[in-house]
């Protein structure tokens, strides 16, 4: 029988350190709607981690959803933990305070499971810090029955090979049902007296198909460094592990009571996910590829979540989230219904992630009725028409100009345009087209609004090819060329005497993208690089003030010295049709043949439609996973809320 380690709160020890650190409030917990369940009565215990600072991690929807789903389950408890900043890390090491949860301030090492949500690969070094502070061996092979099972999730878990040494398992896809299944298996195993120790538990998890356990697969390599084969090394472990898909979002209305932090966070609003998945088919977009098919929440489901969430939180703003929110089949009725319901209540409504078309201006007008109009954001992504055909972002220049003309004509003063640099087949000329486009945007804006104070901001970053996308085979552009192109564009924008001053320019240099590229498409050998760079001091790699390209490059050189591969091999090398990719045994549902065909189509500038409005084009997801598109319209409407209840505070 596994002995239960001490679960005393470490808050007394932590409290003495808090006066010495920056923004101590982020470590004390006690948020509105936080849960605290009894340790003894709930034998399956999860610590859920977002491996970044509290201000980034707290608003994360994935963690908030699983936190609530798990805490609603009988016999299961979940507490949250976030990365501590280096000032507190140093003090915790000096005073022997372990990585703790912010709910019960319990040591993370005391939990049965540590679930870590990776939205980005740049959180990998923070995972190692947390494991080390928790007293959990970095290498999964060195853990025993007293250590938590470390489970990775989130989009980056679709290729967990670079962190295969450090995690025990990975969950692909939607977590709601998967975490309950894992909890059931762990609970069962504990009730039986933990037979066969850790190995037996991991085998049960792997055989159920709920998770991918990297240790149960052997990877062999060809002399040139490419992968030869990935094969299971235990009987009953599946050759390929599939993703989880929640089919009916209305049955999973989480988070019902979102967390309200005291500390300031990056998203000071409540979010309601209006649909999951996207079939627009943008070839660079990993999120759109791995979250298929599209599953909408109904208009009434959205209305109920907004109403319940606002009552539970008091937030001033609601964001309607999805990968392309204007694509909801009932978005017009949702926008109007919510705007009507909350008119006069000083409640803001926003629709992030919208596509470039005039319909969106109508929506934005509706949502900002009588309110502030800060700016509109559009993402043409590619600078030239040719480039946009390559990436399957079906926006013509005419569409874009017509859209911004409508925006400026409706009183908007500021438009932001997002682009990427380094897309496959891109030339300097493709990127320089952005300068011409920006000038045209300002010219049009001045003409339709009759004003000269309108502005446009061009924001551009380097493209990173991602697994499970048609660009998974593409060569990433080296950072020197990326940076040169970004400077060419800057100079072109500045050189425009007529419009240049009205155009803002924001760009991110190409070097962090190369490291992200290494971690995105890396294999198990990259684990040594992560461990080396962490030992060299890497922390918070998603933050430019903490990221050091030179530290990563140097670590890669040392960790891969005995290998036939290096940083360039993982990033700027194009892959061939027959190459075994590190994530081929992980099933996002997409047919590899279809992805290859789409990659060839990209090179030929052939566009693909959206299967919501045209016949299926055989990406493979629905037949492979037994899923199907779930879209409306339902035809329902949002009725006015009963807002004329007497207020008990008011004197008669």
């Amino acid at each position: 029988m596994r002995t239960e380690p001490s679960v005393e709160s470490v808050f007394p020890q932590l409290e003495a350190l808090l006066p010495l650190v920056h923004k101590p409030i982020q470590y004390v917990g006690g948020e509105l709607n936080a849960r605290s369940k009894d340790w003894a009565e709930n034998p399956v215990r999860w610590a859920l981690m977002y491996p970044d600072a509290y201000e980034v991690g707290l608003p994360n929807q994935g963690v908030q959803i699983l936190y609530e789903v798990l805490n609603e389950a009988d016999g299961v408890l979940a507490e949250r933990t976030y990365s501590v900043w280096p000032d507190l890390e140093a003090l915790m090491r000096a005073h022997g305070v372990p990585q703790f949860t912010v709910d019960g301030h319990r040591p993370v090492g005391s939990f049965d499971l540590l679930g870590v949500s990776f939205s980005t690969e740049l959180g990998y070094t923070n995972l190692l810090t947390a494991l080390d502070l928790a007293g959990i061996p970095l290498h999964a092979t060195e853990r025993d029955a007293t250590h938590p099972v470390v489970v990775a999730g989130g989009h980056a878990a679709f290729n967990p090979e670079p962190i295969a040494d450090f995690v025990d398992a990975a969950v692909l896809g939607d977590g709601e049902q998967a975490v309950l299944e894992i909890s059931r298996l762990v609970g069962q195993w504990k009730v039986e007296g933990s037979p066969g120790g850790r190995e037996e538990l991991l085998l049960r998890l792997a055989r159920s198909g709920a998770v991918y356990v990297p240790a149960f697969y052997d990877v062999s390599y060809l002399p040139d460094g490419r992968i030869q084969r990935v094969a299971p090394n235990r009987p009953g472990v599946p050759w390929r592990v599939g993703k989880h898909t929640v089919m009916d979002l209305d049955e999973w209305p989480y988070p019902k009571t979102p967390l309200v932090p005291l500390a300031e966070t990056v998203h000071e609003r409540m979010s309601v996910e209006i649909f999951r998945g996207c079939t627009r088919g943008c070839r660079f977009c990993q999120a759109g590829m791995i979250t298929r098919p599209v599953r909408e929440r109904s208009i009434t489901g959205v209305g109920a979540m907004v109403e319940q969430g606002l009552a539970a939180t008091g937030f001033e703003e609601v964001g309607l989230l999805s990968l392309s929110s204007a694509d909801h089949s009932e978005i017009k009725d949702i926008a109007k219904g919510l705007a009507d319901r909350y008119e006069g209540t000083n409640t803001g409504l926003s629709l992030p992630s919208t596509r470039v078309d005039a319909f969106n201006i109508d929506l934005a007008n509706e949502l900002s009725r009588g309110g502030r109009r800060s700016g509109l954001t559009f993402a043409p992504e590619g600078g030239s028409e040719r480039m946009r055909r390559v990436i399957n972002k079906m926006v013509t220049e005419e569409d874009l100009i017509r859209t911004v003309a409508t925006a400026y004509g409706n009183g908007w003063r500021q438009v932001k345009l997002y682009f990427m640099c380094g897309l496959p087949t891109e030339t300097d000329e493709d990127v320089l087209q952005i300068a011409r486009l920006a000038a045209e945007v300002i010219r049009t804006g001045r003409s339709v609004s009759g004003r000269r104070d309108i502005r446009c901001t061009v924001s551009i970053g380097g493209f990173v090819p991602k697994p499970h996308t048609p660009f998974q085979w593409a060569a990433q552009l080296d950072h020197e060329t990326t940076d040169a192109r970004l400077l060419l564009l800057r100079d072109a924008l500045r050189a425009d005497r007529e419009y240049g001053k009205a155009v803002g320019y924001r760009y991110h240099d190409g070097r962090p993208g190369i490291i992200e590229g290494l971690l995105s498409r890396g294999d198990r050998r990259v684990g040594a690089v992560i461990e080396q760079v962490w030992a060299d001091g890497a922390r918070f790699d998603g933050w430019s003030e903490h990221f050091s390209f030179d530290r990563w490059a140097s670590a890669a050189e040392r960790a891969l010295v005995d290998q036939p591969v290096d940083l360039d091999w993982y990033t700027t090398r194009e892959r061939g049709y027959t190459e075994v990719l590190p994530w081929d045994h992980l099933d996002s549902g997409l047919d590899k043949e279809w992805l290859w065909q789409d990659w060839q189509d990209a090179l030929e500038q052939v566009e693909v439609e959206d299967c919501r409005w045209t016949p299926c084009f055989d990406c493979g997801v629905c037949p492979q996973l037994g899923t199907e598109i779930q879209v409306g319209p339902t035809g329902a409407q949002l009725l006015p809320l009963d807002v004329v209840r007497p207020n008990p505070l008011v004197q008669a």
Binding site: L262, N647, L649
Partner: protein, 252 residues
């Protein structure tokens, strides 16, 4: 053509209410901005009929006064709100307190009388607990500090280091022994407790500045972080050893 908000201007305030609240326990680590966000959301959850400013970014009408620094607990923080329907102060207090997290506690609500609340907050009384500091040593350090005419301390501000006098604002400091309170069994560890009456000034002299001054004049360096609580704020009494209730004129 500039846009302006459609529809009528926001309703006018009909009542102003003054709130005293406490910042206790682990929530003493909340900053003033953290409290502002928490209060605004709690007011919405509690359906307090707030008055809002006009324009495209309407803000609830709330005036804050003299927030205690991050890390300092308080029994005497003050804020004033304006509402568009007359509210019962006690019912509002109960509802708002229930809507705030435990540790941010609404203690009193009164309807505002004449005069500005901020003008009545002339001075603060702080309790500074110094664990592991001997009471004799603390008393000697306090005597040295009070004997000085001017003690310049330095504090980091957003615009860089700033030097100012911490002595002039000090009205009174008394020292008690926290290790052996009267009638109790002495604890093993010494603990000096300072009671500091400080006049509000610009820049405000905070408990940290008093500790910096003690370190400077008498080399008093607490081995562990002190625990500081603001006990009261209000008009300075004639005896210069306490402050009066700043709500007294509102209750009259």
């Amino acid at each position: 053509m500039a846009r302006s908000p459609e529809g009528p201007p926001p309703p006018l305030a009909v009542q102003r209410l003054r709130l005293r609240y406490a910042k206790r326990g682990r929530l003493r680590f909340s900053s003033h901005r953290d409290f502002q966000r928490a209060l605004e959301r709690a007011l919405r959850r509690a359906s307090v009929p707030m008055a809002f400013s006009a324009g495209f970014s309407p803000h609830p009408k709330i005036s804050y006064a003299n927030a205690a620094p991050t890390g300092v607990a308080s029994e005497a923080e003050y804020v004033e709100i304006a509402v568009i329907e007359r509210c019962d102060p006690e019912r509002l207090r109960t509802a708002l307190d229930a809507s705030l997290p435990p540790g941010l506690d609404i203690l009193e609500v009164v309807e505002a009388g004449p005069g500005a609340l901020a003008d009545r907050l002339e001075a603060s009384v702080y309790q500074v607990e110094l664990p592991q500091v001997d009471v004799q040593q603390a008393a000697a350090a306090v005597d040295t500090l009070l004997a000085a005419e001017l003690v310049e301390v330095e504090r980091m501000t957003k615009t860089g280091p700033r030097r100012f006098d911490a002595r002039a604002a000090l009205v009174q400091i008394t020292v008690a022994d926290g290790a052996s309170p009267a009638g109790a069994v002495p604890t093993a560890e010494p603990c000096a407790i300072l009671r500091v009456v400080v006049r509000h000034s610009t820049p405000a002299v905070r408990p940290d500045d008093v500790l910096a001054a003690l370190r400077q004049v008498a080399d008093l360096v607490p081995p562990v972080p002190p625990r500081v609580t603001r006990l009261a704020q209000g008009p300075l009494g004639a005896a210069l050893d306490d402050v009066a209730d700043p709500f007294a004129p509102d209750r009259a």
